[in-house]
């Protein structure tokens, strides 16, 4: 039986109008501009533009800095996702075990969700800054040569930690929900079958929360791609020497700082393609996940 509807003919147009208008002006127009811009080359004075086909794309894809950005983004996403998700899963399983105080723990663990990524970056930077960070001081006092301003790997580490920290609560909430949806009877059956706690976790619980894990993986990756701009800008500004320059960051730098519009637009288009692929992937494989009765 199809959904019951109202017979009005004109009202629906009026109702969608605001969203459609905003979408057209602030989404489709810029998106098409990006596409258009990506196949143009502006002269240095911004006076004339010339159609150059895929030249911008070619130069972008062969630019070592761009390939570096791809590498950086990949490492950054995977590390952040892995770190954040494992910590969250650990905490979620712990939360499942306790009976008293569960609500309190959840409240206390939600905070980072509300913290702006940029602020999160600042906080961590503040703690680890070589000049006045307390932890930097402690690291150095114990012989560690800690200077994320000079060492690319350390900078990456700091940024990853800050980004992962911020995502813990989000992942935690989802893992808790996933764990709670596992029927107790399955776990009890395994216990009766002699499986110890760890074995139960890896052979029963972990596979059963696989859909959630998968979903979070995609979400965390998208988060690492885009929402972390603030963190990177606060902590390292993409440095030192591009060590933390992700794809999005590069778009920003090339477009707004270096004013290379064609290249930046081409990069945007490439990013769009990646996102579309990720979203399509998520919809296909994650949305149609297997249901465990």
């Amino acid at each position: 039986m199809s959904k019951a509807v109202f017979p009005n003919k004109w009202l629906p147009y009026l109702l969608v109008a605001p969203q459609v208008a905003i979408t057209l002006v602030f989404f489709y127009w810029p998106a098409s501009q990006a596409l258009y811009q990506s196949v143009l080359h502006e002269d240095p004075f911004g006076l004339k533009s010339k159609f150059v086909g895929l030249a911008n794309f070619q130069s972008v894809l062969s630019d070592p800095a761009y390939l570096n950005a791809i590498k950086v983004t990949a490492i950054f996403s995977i590390s952040t996702a892995a770190l954040s998700m494992s910590l969250a899963l650990l905490l979620a399983t712990a939360a499942e075990k306790v009976v008293r105080g569960r609500g309190l723990y959840r409240t206390m663990l939600i905070w980072p969700y509300a913290v702006a990524p940029a602020v999160a970056g600042l906080l961590w930077m503040f703690m680890f800054n070589p000049v006045m960070g307390t932890f930097a001081y402690m690291l150095r006092r114990n012989g560690f040569d800690w200077n994320p301003l000079l060492d690319g790997d350390q900078a990456m580490l700091l940024v990853v930690v800050a980004a992962a920290w911020k995502q813990i609560s989000y992942n935690f909430l989802f893992f808790v929900a996933a764990l709670q949806s596992i029927p107790k009877s399955l776990i009890e059956a395994a216990a009766i079958d002699g499986a110890g706690s760890t074995k139960r976790f890896w052979t029963i619980i972990f596979p059963l929360i696989a859909p959630t894990t998968f979903f979070l993986l995609v979400v965390n990756t998208v988060y690492a791609f885009f929402d972390t701009f603030g963190i990177i800008d606060s902590v390292t500004s993409g440095g030192p020497a591009r060590a933390t320059e992700t794809l999005v960051y590069k778009v920003y730098v090339d477009g707004f700082v270096n004013l290379d519009l064609g290249s930046s637009a081409a990069q945007s288009v490439i990013l769009m393609a990646i996102v579309i692929a990720l979203t399509a992937f998520q919809f296909r494989y994650v949305e149609k996940r297997v249901h465990y009765a």
Partner: protein, 282 residues
């Protein structure tokens, strides 16, 4: 519970407490720093107990006259950020609920077209279209305006999809009963649909408010005038780790001020928020 013996439970508690420490520590640390003098901050290690400067520092930031924070009054910053966050949350909820209502409860010729039009926007967050959107802002004269801060960020379809999904679970008979009861579409919308959507709206509000409050890249681009800064941007601009002029104690205070409102929103509306988050993204 399966294991009756004690080991599992206390370990779990320990881990959770550790988790809370990890999660809360940076904020705690910042709060401690915000109660110290500038000199104390510049000399590590920072003591872990509150200093004596709470009143002094907060007083200076909040009431110390114009322009304490990067040349701007902190109340202005808070105001801007609040306007932006509320604008995004409310704006997006309003346009999305209206669109979802139209798409689910009416049949009209361009229905599917509009649906896909809106759906595709899911694919591209604002960071991907920053440059051209910026150009559009310039063309429309929206640089340094609240509209410029808000509008591009309500253009995506996440909320619409959520509402659509929810509306499709409303039984047909309810709509029919309303029609028989002389309720036109808008009356049905207001009297019946909205009350039934309360939890969804609440959850979305929290999510969008946080989203709006924590925006960084977009406000950075679209505002030049410092008076239009959000608190997050101002914070960033205040800090230069190499520069000796940075008023660190005020930076700490501002950080706390930037964190408190959204955390309050999340903690107070926790129940709806958690429920909404977990169901929303599915």
């Amino acid at each position: 519970m399966i294991e009756r013996h004690s080991i599992g439970r206390p370990i779990a508690h320990v881990m959770l407490v550790l988790g809370i420490v990890i999660v809360a520590f940076p904020i705690y640390y910042t709060f401690m720093a915000s109660t110290q003098t500038l000199q104390a901050i510049l000399r590590p290690p920072l003591p872990l107990i509150p200093g004596g400067e709470f009143v002094e520092n907060y007083g200076e930031a909040l009431f110390g006259g114009i322009g304490r924070i990067g040349g701007v009054n902190v109340w202005t910053l808070l105001f801007n950020t609040t306007v932006m966050a509320l604008g995004i949350a409310i704006g997006k909820i309003v346009i999305s609920i209206l669109s979802a209502f139209a798409i689910v409860f009416f049949r009209f010729r361009l229905r599917m077209t509009f649906f896909w039009l809106i759906f595709i926007t899911l694919m591209l967050p604002v960071e991907v279209r920053i440059l051209p959107t910026y150009k559009v802002m310039v063309d429309l004269g929206m640089i340094d305006t609240y509209a410029g801060l808000i509008l591009p960020l309500i253009a995506s379809a996440t909320a619409t999809l959520l509402f659509r999904q929810f509306f499709m679970t409303i039984p047909s008979e309810l709509v029919e009963a309303a029609r028989v009861d002389a309720a036109g579409p808008m009356r049905f919308f207001w009297d019946i649909l909205i009350p039934l959507s309360k939890t969804n709206i609440a959850a979305l509000f929290v999510i969008l408010f946080i989203y709006g409050w924590t925006q960084y890249l977009w406000p950075l681009l679209v505002t030049n005038d410092n008076q239009m800064n959000t608190i997050v941007i101002a914070l960033r601009k205040m800090v230069s780790f190499a520069d000796a002029d940075t008023p660190w104690h005020l930076v700490m205070v501002t950080s706390i001020l930037a964190i408190v409102p959204p955390v309050l929103v999340v903690v107070l509306m926790q129940r709806w928020f958690v429920r909404g988050l977990v169901e929303a993204e599915k």
